[in-house]
């Protein structure tokens, strides 16, 4: 099918990346429709939600490109699938990743399905990643690949996207670096060309996760902070606020910095150590559950992994267990602060194989 006939629905967030995505696709001859997903609009104490400005910027980009514009209201679903999940995970003592959940449940499920239902042949977003499918290659296989800009690569957040969605997805920015994208935005004359980057979890923004959790869950029970010699060295404001490996935010005062080495949610204890080499901070293997493979399970078990966004890739060997959704990874070197609830993503070269949740 010629590109001219292909309808692409682009998720326009009001930021520079998605704006350039839409502009590039239009330039390439697709029939582009811009869609603003309204996922969150609530103001938080000290942080008015900027959604309205973002919405208007997205709409303005559609005007500048001369493309149709729609808004999909996913607030209810986003609350259910992303925010509630996030809160439940924190309450269980884990450190979830809402961006991964948002891609899995909202952008590449709800948005994807709605767009296809509304007549789209393909969807596109401004993610820094590359995808191989029948629309951009002769390959029969669907592949998710790391972005050209290693600094911006967002595949860590995309490993749970379904193969069927990837089969009809375009990531035009995967072949560009961020500075190139900024230049393109200026070249296209887009209103978002100089807009500042949004940081962190979108709806938490500058408020910070701790204040957000207090806002949603109320103040937490204080408890003991216990060091590697089993001494109580201070009080914490709620165990849910602490993440393995975290250095800041411990009100224990003076001396060497403390690092969180573990938590006991039942006893409401946060364990810390001043020793960066503390054994509990370093792991040579990882247990992974809820494993998602982009296509088939790999035959070659030598992989590279990443345990957080933009972290260094570490070599490891896959061990399949009794259940297909669980795997063990034997790492070639010790990795610091492997955190239950966070994702681990598997790579072979540029190819994203899949990943799972650390437990």
């Amino acid at each position: 099918m010629s590109k001219l006939k292909l309808k692409v629905f682009v998720g326009l967030s009001g930021g520079v990346d998605s704006s350039v995505t839409a502009a590039l696709l239009k330039e390439q001859g697709y029939q582009v429709t811009g869609v603003y997903m309204k996922n969150w609009s609530k103001d938080l104490p000290g942080m008015p939600c900027p959604w309205k400005q973002d919405y208007q910027d997205a709409k303005r980009v559609a005007v500048q490109l001369g493309i149709p514009f729609k808004m999909y209201d996913f607030e209810k679903e986003y609350r259910q699938k992303v925010v509630e999940y996030m809160l439940a995970e924190y309450q269980a003592g884990r450190t979830p990743n809402p961006d991964i959940m948002c891609n899995q449940e909202i952008k590449f499920k709800l948005f994807f399905d709605t767009a296809i239902k509304d007549g789209a042949d393909l969807v596109a977003t401004g993610h820094y990643a590359r995808v191989v499918n029948s629309y951009n290659s002769k390959s029969k296989e669907i592949q998710l690949l790391r972005a050209k800009d290693e600094n911006k690569d967002q595949t860590y957040f995309l490993y749970r996207v379904s193969e069927s969605a990837l089969a009809k997805t375009l990531f035009p920015l995967g072949d560009y670096t961020k500075p190139e994208v900024r230049k393109l935005a200026k070249k296209f004359g887009l209103v978002t060309a100089n807009k500042a980057e949004s940081m962190g979890i979108c709806f938490v923004g500058k408020v910070g996760i701790k204040d957000f959790l207090v806002h949603e869950l109320g103040p937490q029970k204080k408890g003991d902070v216990v060091d590697e010699h089993s001494r109580t060295v201070g009080q914490h404001e709620g165990a849910i606020f602490y993440t393995i490996g975290q250095r800041h935010g411990l009100d224990v005062g003076g001396g060497l910095p403390y690092y969180v080495t573990g938590k006991d949610m039942k006893k409401n204890i946060v364990y810390v150590s001043t020793d960066l080499n503390d054994k509990s901070l370093w792991d040579s293997s990882v247990s992974v559950k809820d494993v998602h493979w982009i296509s088939a399970r790999p035959t070659n078990k030598n992989i590279e992994v990443r345990t957080r966004h933009r972290a260094k890739l570490v070599k490891g060997v896959l061990e399949f267990g009794e259940y297909s959704a669980k795997v063990e990874i034997q790492l070639k070197e010790d990795v610091r602060a492997i955190t239950p609830g966070q994702s681990i993503v598997f790579y072979q070269g540029d190819v994203v194989l899949g990943g799972g949740i650390i437990y």
Partner: protein, 386 residues
């Protein structure tokens, strides 16, 4: 890249400061900066300049200088009128129309309050107002010319009614006064604002809408009316508005009012022609388009239209890209905005309100500008996805 023209059609939102007025204001920033309350001669000279500005306005409006209270803009003057009366008569009732400016509505809502509904042309009938009046009514506030749809009220008929009721009340031994306030912020460029001819008791004016500085304004308060002050302090403006006088703003406001009233007839004639040309051309080129508000009783610079089925915010942005600036009465439903209470009051649905645009003309507007706007609107509306 082709240079887009810059056609400003949002004069009802803000007017540029007239350069001649700016020049009159400039000495009061860094040269004659003295506090007018001080006793040395240079400060007294500034106090004298304020007095002259006040006298000029008083003469222009046909009021006494002491009847003018300078405020920081129209919103404050409206707040002072409503709250200033109602705080003194907390048990009494205030009545307004349902197409007042937010500063009147939000102030009135704090008290015992009743609304008179306008007809579908935006006009208030005195019969309907009379029905709402009770023995407890102390204040009626009616906007002289509406900011969104430009509808002009027959304020003289309204003031005659208020006077009649007031006199009857006095006879019956009811000591409660009955005051009429009008927000005339949009009016000075086009209507005669001679105070006694209007017959009102209080009137709001706003410098920022008449080529004067923003945050300049005044409330005319007829002698005999005692208001409760909103801002206490050094006792400036007859104890009603404390705070060191904003001298450049007062000078600018005075010049703006004088100039507006001097030219109101000629500017009305000129803009009425342009407005009617806009409406004629619009109906010819976009026959679906509807005009909101009375055609007859309408500010010469106001065009408020609905193009059914369109997204007004998108059209506004499309026009902006073509160098035309106009206003959306209320943005699309996506923005969670409340639909415009004025458009709602004259019977528009939410969808209708979200397809409505306001063009307001001003000193620089030409026929060519209007032709370009109509051409652009037609082009935009012909796009499939609009």
């Amino acid at each position: 890249m082709k240079q887009a023209p810059n056609i400003y059609m949002d004069y009802a939102a803000a007017t540029p400061l007239d350069p001649k007025i700016l020049n009159k204001m400039l000495p009061y920033f860094s040269d004659n900066y003295y506090n007018p309350s001080a006793t040395y001669l240079s400060a007294q000279a500034v106090a004298q300049d304020i007095a002259e500005a006040r006298n000029k306005i008083a003469k222009g409006l046909g009021v006494k200088p002491v009847e003018i209270i300078f405020t920081a803009g129209g919103t404050e003057a409206n707040n002072l009128a409503i709250k200033g009366v109602m705080e003194r008569f907390p048990e009494a009732q205030v009545i307004t129309s349902n197409i007042e400016h937010e500063s009147v509505l939000r102030s009135a809502e704090k008290y015992s309050y009743s609304q008179v509904r306008v007809a579908s042309d935006g006009r208030l009938s005195t019969a309907n107002l009379e029905k709402e009046l009770t023995d407890k009514t102390v204040l009626v506030s009616i906007i002289l010319a509406n900011n969104e749809i430009g509808t002009i009220q027959s304020i003289r008929k309204i003031s005659a009614l208020i006077e009649k009721i007031g006199q009857a009340r006095e006879k019956s031994g009811n000591n409660m006064p009955l005051y009429l306030h009008t927000d005339a912020s949009q009016a000075p460029l086009f209507l005669d604002l001679h105070f006694s001819r209007l017959g009102v008791d209080m009137m709001t004016l706003n410098g920022g809408k008449i080529y004067g500085p923003k945050q300049s304004g005044l409330l005319v308060v007829k002698t005999g009316i005692v208001l409760y002050p909103l801002i206490d302090g050094g006792g400036q403006e007859r104890q009603l508005r404390s705070g060191t006088e904003n001298v450049p703003a007062i000078i600018g406001l005075s010049e703006a009012i004088i100039s507006a009233q001097k030219h109101h007839k000629s500017e009305s004639l000129r803009l009425t022609k342009l407005r009617d040309w806009f409406i004629t051309e619009l109906s010819r080129e976009i026959p679906d388009a509807l005009i909101n508000g009375s055609l007859k009783y309408r500010l010469p610079n106001n065009i408020n239209i609905t193009i059914p089925g369109t997204d007004n915010e998108r059209i506004m942005m499309e026009l902006d890209e073509l160098g035309i600036q106009c206003a959306v009465g209320s943005a699309c439903s996506a923005s969670n905005d409340q639909p415009s209470h004025v458009l709602e009051a004259i019977g528009l649905t939410d969808e209708g309100a979200q397809s409505s645009l306001r063009f307001s003309l001003g000193r620089t507007t030409t026929k060519q500008d209007i032709n370009y706007v109509i051409k652009s609107l037609k082009k935009i509306c012909s796009k499939k996805y609009i």
